[in-house]
């Protein structure tokens, strides 16, 4: 896994962003950026060059699923790995995310191992 890549962590809860960043640091990722909802995330994506997006689903202003659709519709990020990390655990949510082009999906609560496993799959 290339851990020098720039990772954008998107969640409206600061606690969750911290937990995810702690896990990513344990995995030796150092280039981490964060956003507190889809709109702020899109601003970051336009301003910077992001290699991996990890996003929650339910957020104010722009949800993770809408961010995903916007990302997949853009030339710059249509193939960028996108990991949804969310409390939305029902089958229809997963189906919707897959149809929108998500790379992988983690349901909260999660272990560090679960994040590692999913990242390992999508970054190969």
């Amino acid at each position: 896994m290339d851990t020098s890549i720039r990772v954008l962590v998107v969640d409206d809860f600061a606690t969750m962003r911290r937990i995810l960043k702690n896990i990513l640091k344990q995995l030796d990722f150092k280039n981490l950026v964060e956003a507190d909802d889809g709109t702020t995330a899109w601003d970051v994506l336009e301003d910077q060059s992001i290699d991996l997006i990890i996003s929650d689903w339910n957020m104010p202003k722009m949800s993770g699923i809408d961010l995903l659709k916007k990302v997949r519709a853009s030339d710059k990020y249509k193939k960028t790995p996108f990991l949804m990390v969310t409390a939305e655990a029902q089958k229809q949510n997963v189906i919707e995310a897959v149809q929108a082009g998500v790379s992988n999906y983690v349901v909260k609560p999660f272990t560090a191992e679960a994040i590692f496993e999913k990242l390992d799959k999508i970054l190969k």
Binding site: T15, I19, A87, K108, T111
Partner: protein, 153 residues
């Protein structure tokens, strides 16, 4: 209220706290709660819609939530502050998500709003639905917390 609607919240709570905060919790006996005063110091509350409308809340005693959040973040948090409030919101979100997954498997599909958090001694929680308010007490080594579930009749 159908007791089958309660178990998903118990199972979700145990799963969330064991996984994210590495603590064991013991569920007590659910009871009908009449008063609005919260059984603790900080509460996350969110609305549910779908097959029925309702609200759930999760209220933590101070010592309990400080331990939980310290475990989640890997560093000691000593007082109820914005960090704690944020964490309570996320915990409420996760418990709701897991419970809704199990309820969904029972054919009862719900959507959830983004949680709100209230903090302070003797704060009140007012569930704006007509149904009975079921309280589920939980114990941990470092204090207690209570889930309240209220669905319209």
């Amino acid at each position: 209220m159908d007791v089958k609607l309660i178990n998903p919240f118990i199972n979700a709570t145990i799963n969330v706290l064991e996984t994210m905060a590495f603590i064991n919790v013991n569920a007590g006996t659910p009871y009908l709660k009449k008063e609005n005063v919260a059984v603790g110091d900080v509460t996350g509350v969110l609305g549910l819609t779908g097959v029925a409308n309702g609200t759930i809340s999760v209220t933590f005693e101070e010592k309990c939530i400080l331990t939980i959040v310290s475990n989640m973040l890997g560093e000691t948090v000593k007082e109820i502050n914005y960090e704690i409030a944020d964490a309570v919101g996320e915990l409420t979100n996760m418990i709701s998500g897991q419970a809704r997954r199990e309820l969904g498997e029972m054919g009862k599909v719900f959507k959830a709003a983004i949680p709100s958090v209230i903090a302070g001694k003797n704060h009140s929680i007012i569930h704006y639905t007509t149904g009975p308010k079921i309280a589920i007490p939980f114990g941990t080594e470092n204090g207690n917390f209570t889930i309240e579930v209220c669905f319209e009749r």
